[in-house]
Each structure stands twice: as C-alpha cells, then as structure tokens.
Symmetry: D2
C-alpha cells in the first residue's frame, strides 16, 4: 500500500501574485504533490487553507501518513484548534515535512518550542545546499550538493533546538550560511525541515528538490499503528504493580482516580 501523503498549501500568493501564479499554475501544493506522485510508493493529495477546517479534518488526518506544509503570508489565519489537532496527529505518528517559510508556521513553532527565527534577504541569489550526512535516507540519489540559481537567503542563527541529525547546510552568494535540512522526533512522529522554496522562484520544479521531497516522505513515514494514547497519563494501581507493593504514607488520590492535569 502506498504511503498516504497530504500537501497543505496556503494558496495565497498563487491567487494574488502574477509571478507566483505564473510559476505554479497548479499551486505550489499541486506542484509538490505531482512531484511526490512520480513515486509509485507514494499517493499524494492536496488541501488548502481556504478549505473547510483548512482541509485538515479528523478523518483526513487519520488516514494521512505524512503531511507536507507550505505557508508564508497567512500563518495567523490557521485556527489554533486545527493546529492542536495536527500536533496531536504528529505525536501519534504522522510524519511532518515543513518547507521554507513554514519555519514561522504555528505548527512548527509549537513542535519545536522555540522562536524559529532567522535572518532573510530576497535577492534571488545563488544557494548551494551541501549534503552533510550523505548516507542519510533523505540524501539518497543526490550528488555532493544541490545548486539553486535563485533563492531567498535565510541566515543563521536559526533558533531551533539542536536537531537529531543535520542533513544539509546551505551556502549563500551574499555570504551567509544556514542549516537547511534538520530532523526531529516528537512523540511517535518524525519531522523534517527543508529550507528552500521561496514562491517567486521555480525551486519546486527542480529535480533534486523533488528527490529530497520524495525521500523525506519515505523517511518520515512511521508504519506502526497510531499511538492514540500518547497524551494520556494512566494511573498504575498498586494491584497492577509489576513488583509486590504495599501502600505507604499519606496520599492525595483515591485508588484508580484520574490524575490532575
């Protein structure tokens, strides 16, 4: 059974900017989904901010293995309740791939617990994405680097937690560097942040970028059943203790009572 991927697109600049509409007539989400669907082991669909519940209903999320997120102009328009729903699904095991300006999305900031801030410059400069960990599954099929002739610059410090793995580091023509491919684990869910993808450049038409996106979907996919109880804090009664145990001392709770939270 193929991996079920869902590409979430903000779909704002595609509607308001002639440049973006011209580059991405399918929407950025549509272009990304098409790139994923070139892999027969992935089946990718799309939803957008403007859909009911931003397209992220309980049902849709329940059957999604990996969610891909691109947003920029409208982070604030994403409902908090939906963000919490997505976050819980990640904790349960859904993979999440956050792209470019998604660094400031509510979902990414909540999962990182940090500001996720950075420096930036929109000058269409050259970006060279170096493969740091060439044996990482996300780097499969790449050469020693990816060259993008025109990209927005993102510069360090990128205020995220130290990652599980640093997969890519970017060089920019104007003199900056950026850790541009980072992996994280949150609960049962794997998260990959991938830097490039400014909407005024044809980045999501680049074959190496397609390779990374497909690899990342495979890497982030957790085939185990959803850990639906991940937020629970179960009481283990004395009678169920693994070792013989006699209650001692004063206590707050009655046996079997639910905990405070």
């Amino acid at each position: 059974m193929p991996i079920s991927a869902l590409v979430w697109g903000e779909n704002v600049h595609e509607q308001t900017s002639r440049v973006v509409a011209g580059l991405y007539p399918l929407g950025m989400h549509g272009t990304i989904a098409a790139a994923l669907n070139q892999d027969k082991d992935i089946k990718a669909g799309t939803v957008v901010l403007q859909d009911p519940e931003h397209g992220l209903t309980e049902e849709r999320l329940a059957k999604t293995d990996v969610l891909v997120w691109w947003g920029h102009a409208a982070h604030g328009k994403v409902e908090d309740a939906i963000v919490e729903r997505v976050q819980k699904r990640v904790w349960e095991g859904m993979g999440l791939i956050v792209l470019h300006s998604g660094h400031f999305s509510k979902i990414f900031k909540r999962l990182m617990g940090t500001p996720c801030s950075l420096k930036w410059r929109e000058a269409g400069e050259r970006e060279r994405i170096w493969v740091v960990n060439r044996n990482h599954p996300i780097a499969k099929g790449l050469g020693e680097c990816i060259e993008l002739p025109n990209e927005e610059m993102y510069g360090e410090p990128f205020t995220v937690p130290e990652p599980m793995e640093t997969v890519f580091v970017s060089w920019f023509e104007g003199g900056e560097v950026f850790r541009s491919g980072l992996t994280y684990q949150r609960g049962a869910g794997r998260i990959f942040y991938f830097r490039p993808g400014h909407e005024t450049y044809p980045t999501y038409h680049h074959p190496d970028v397609h390779t990374v996106l497909r690899n990342a979907v495979h890497w982030a996919h957790n085939p185990m059943p959803a850990w639906t109880a991940v937020t629970d804090a179960p009481n283990v009664p004395i009678s169920a203790a693994r070792e013989p145990l006699v209650e001692k001392g004063p206590k707050l709770h009655k046996d079997g009572e639910e905990g405070l939270r």
Copy 2:
C-alpha cells in the same frame, strides 16, 4: 552578584490538604527557596499562582536569572499570556527548572513541543535516583544515587524530546524506571527537569534534593545579556550583504520591508 532565583509555587494543596500544609508550613515554594538561599551565591524569592499576574510581571521576570516551577492541581489556571511571557524570557536566556508534576505545566509542554505524558502511582514507594552522568555540574556533591523512602512513581514512556543530557535515571520499588533528570536548551535558555517532589512526602526537605536544586540553579544560569531580539526575523538588505550582490529575479517584498509572519 548572586544569581537571582525565583520559585513559583502553585500554592493550592498547601491550602487545601492538611498533610501538605503540615509538611510544608512555608509552602513548597518557601521550603525550596530556603534551600536555595543556603547558598550565598544564590538569592531566591517566591511568588504564587494567586499573586497578580501570578507574580510573573515583566519587571520581575526581567531581573530573574533562573525560575523554578512547581505546579500540579491548577495548570489550567495559569493564564496563557503569562505562559507566553515566561517562554519568551526563557528564550532570551532565563534558566528554568521544572519540578515533578510540572511535567504537565503549560510552560513545560510549550517548551518541549511534546505531550510530556507518563505513567504514575501514588503508593509512597521507594525511589532510587541513579546518577548517570556523574561529572555533570548538576550532580556535584552527590554519591552514586539518592534514596527517597517515599515517593510517587512516574514511569516510562515519558514523552519528551531526547534530551541534551540524561543526568539521572530513577528505579522504583514497584518495578518501573524513569529518566528523572534531563537537560534541554531552548534559544538562550537552559532547562532542567527534575522528577521527585510529590506534595504528600517530605522530598523537598532532603539534603541531596537541596544539593540538586542549588546545582541546577548554577547550571541554568546564563550570565550573558538577555537576547531580547530572539524572536525577530531581521531583513538583511542587499546593500548590507557581506559579499557583493546584485539583485536577480522577481520578488515579493520591497527592500527593507518587514517580513511576513
């Protein structure tokens, strides 16, 4: 100049439970602050949930080097705006020590980005806290373990991110284990989670626990100036680029314009 520590107490069970009031006539926060003040290089005060703004005004946080947090019954009563204020101060460099049931506090869950769930049992059983990383500054002055005759059990899985360092691991009489001393970095702030401290036991009167608390305040203290711009995403104009740069390609923003967020 001594380190400025602030102990935040929920101060609920001290008022409602005769057992807790009897064990902690100064309040748990008062007992903890007194233990910190035994170190001449620390100056600790206290505030409680019931204070205006929960005692966590901008002014008070600005002059706090390390915040110590104990809460259990009233996590939900802590205002979101205050939690965001504390989180920003941590990112700017304030240290944070989260104790016991504080694992489910809003501030800890926000900084971790995970559920922070666990298993528990209130049976007054024996806990033995083993020192894993005996050269860690937080373990200074301890023997190979700390023995607490009566404690609440917390059992794995503890759904937090993989820590920077695992300082302690606990053994419980009833058969469980728990990673009971974990360090994290978020922005400029250092965070230490320390497991023991159920309110119906005299844990915060134990000399080894005092040692850990004092060590943790020293470890979490970041003497560098507050990183007040930690959430900013500054534009670096082309004219300020470190390398000569010529603008190329289409763009969204005018030069010097603020970014979207």
Copy 3:
C-alpha cells in the same frame, strides 16, 4: 533480496562451561542466527573468533549488511587489524549490533571513543526492560516491557556518549537501572547496543529478545551503496571550486598534492 546478517560469536564459554554448552548447543551465535533466520527478509550466517581472520575477511565483510557481535572472555584476542577492518566497514555503512558483554569489545570502544565501563553483578536477578520510545522501529511488536527472570545486572554509570535515541531502560531486582537500548550513527553505519544476554541464562531463547534482534537488523541496515571513500580527505583544486576563486597568500602544498595525515 534479504538483508545479509552475520553473527560473530566468541565461542569460548560454549567450549569451556558445561552450563553454557547446555543452554546453547548451537553456540550463542548459532542460536542468535537461528532467531534472525525466522524472518524471511533476513539471511543470517555465523563466524567465530577461532576462524581464520576471526571469520571477518574483507570479502565476507563486503557482503555483510549487518554484523551482530557477542564477546566476553576474549576481547583481547581479537586482532587489532581485524577490528580496524570492521570499523571501516561500519563507517562505510554496515550496521552493527553489539550485545551485552560486547560493551567492552575493542570494536565498540573504538566506535564510541569512551571507556564503556559499568557496574555488574552475577546473581540471576530479575531484569525488566522498559520501552522508552515505543514508536521506535526496534520496539515494534513489543509490549510495554520485557521481563527476564534471570539476568546479570549492569548498572549505571554506563560511560558511553549520549545516544541518538534511548530505546530501552532496564530495572533490576537488586535496585539498579541501566540504559539498555541505545542507538548511534558513525559515518554511514548505524549501531545499536542491546544489554541483556549473559551466557549462563537462556536470554537468547526469549521470544521478545528475538523480536528485538530482528527489528534491530532491519533498523541497522543501510541499503545505500558502501561509502568506500569515507576516510579520504580529497583536495578540491582551485580550478574545481564551485565559485570563481583566485589563489591568495602563501601555501604549503602544490596544487593537486595529497594532504598530510
């Protein structure tokens, strides 16, 4: 094509101890290989210390995807040249699973860069191995813990580097704890250390232990081509620089000359 696993056995106590010979008539290596071969996607063979080149010829290693290592009494008899050969294969991408007393093997100490010391007691006590990261591929198919009625105790501090992931933590009847499932990455190779497996107990006949071993082989398998140049330090001549570059300043080396090492 199945994963090619190779189980390396020291094969000393099987020959000198009636207890061990009685428990493991196939040798411990033989029992472990049989457990792996129950998975149709793994094809496991065995070699022993006493084989020419300890069974670890260049040819054999080149076609091995994952090596499983059990040793105890004869770490010092493993030739340094063979250890270096195995280490290079790990860096190139071969997975390595180090079992129990293998914590003091030359290969494990070299890959960790630390003493790998611990405390121990041979009392046949109960060990309970808790799953910390239940969504980890190595924990697939397990319950919340594995109970072994008789095992040797290993206690913290275990002097290894902070792992990539803490998969298991053990509870011992005598009061100690141990981080008993740890993952590492070294070059292109993945390493898993798994604690249980003292030779006087039937641990390698336990179905949950079999599950862990099979899962670990899958996890450690890197399907990408061997990174045979992993120890090289190639010169990038000025003419091959990605950006136009003019030589400046004095230098030690002539262009294209090999580096010092």
Copy 4:
C-alpha cells in the same frame, strides 16, 4: 586559582617553513599560549612533539585542566601510548580543544570513533565563521560572525558524530560550508573542535580567534575532581545490593571475582 591550560604544538612547520616561522616566531603553540595568558583566570604553558614523552607526562597531564592541540604534518609520530594516556585524562575530566588540522590527530579520531575526514583547498580564500548558538559560552563577546581574509578551506562532509552543540558554521569564498565549532562530551571530559588555523596564515593573531580560544578553555574546564576510576567495571556483590537479593541460577564468576575484559 587560574585554570591550568597546556598548549601542545607539533612544531614541525615552524622549523621547516620560512613562511610559518615568520608568522609565528614563538611557534604556533607559543602564540596560542600568549593569547590564553591575556586572561588572568588562565595560566597556559606549552609543550611540543619533540619533548620527552611529547611533553605529556603523567605528572604534567595530572595537573592540566584543559589541553589545546595543534598538529598537522606529524600525527603519525605521536606515540600510541601517549595518545592512550591523553584519552584517559580526557575521560577523567580534562578538557580538550582540537584545532584545525588536528581533526586528523590520533587523539581526536579516537575520541570521536569516526574517520574525521573532510575536503580541503589551500587557496588563501575568505572564511566567514557564523555564530549559530550566540548564547553559547564559547561565543561570548563575538559579533554575528568572524571574518578571516585568508584561510584554508575545509568542506563538508566532515565525518564526525552529530555534536552536542553546533556553535559555529563557516562560509567559504570558493563555495563550500563547514561546521566549524562543535562540542562533545566523552566521559567527564568536554571537547571542542575549532576549525580555523592553517599555519601559513596569521589566524592565531586574530583577536576574535583569541576570544574563542579563551572562552573555550573556560567552557572545557571541569572543576570537579578527576574521575580516576572511569575505566573500571566494579563488581557489586550480592551483599552490597541496595535491595535484598537472593542468588539464583548458574554463574560464571565467584563472588567478588574481577570481571572479564
């Protein structure tokens, strides 16, 4: 009492290259030690490869808090027995700062457990070292980056383990990037790798480089007593178990017997 630092110099190119001798009339080690001694809380001395026991006697190491290592042409001339001695001292708590071409020193490769390979080019190009973690003690007093007009290029992949913290990342004029400030913990010892410092350029005369070196000595200093037993594997006899324990099952060892290694 000031921190006792010791700068180890290979002292080969200072003798054989007129360029190096001209830049570093005190030797590179002498220049580095002088920079450290500008800090009244550090007292730095020097030793060189050519000294008896390379200057690294048991006595000298025992009173050294932090060792700074620069080597390039003669890694192979460092005696293995001395390398093992230094490694044990690091495990016991001595800090270690490895500079530039020291990435291929025996001591660094042993402590990392990886090839420590990289790409390089000697073209005197510009290096810009970006501060990734600006609140790290090693970055204290720096601006957002350090600019070196002429340096040797080191390029990724740098085959080291994922660090505890990524403090600096370098940009090179010729188009490469490199993680140029990395921290590690091995036993009780802290390790910092710092990239710049090719012998044909005046890098160790740069004030920002001096700042980093002094900060790194402070960071790597572990004030706790040496963990001299770090390589021991003590038996815990049944009679000394923390919980009442009855011996069960067969065993290899007699009570109190030393373990195998």
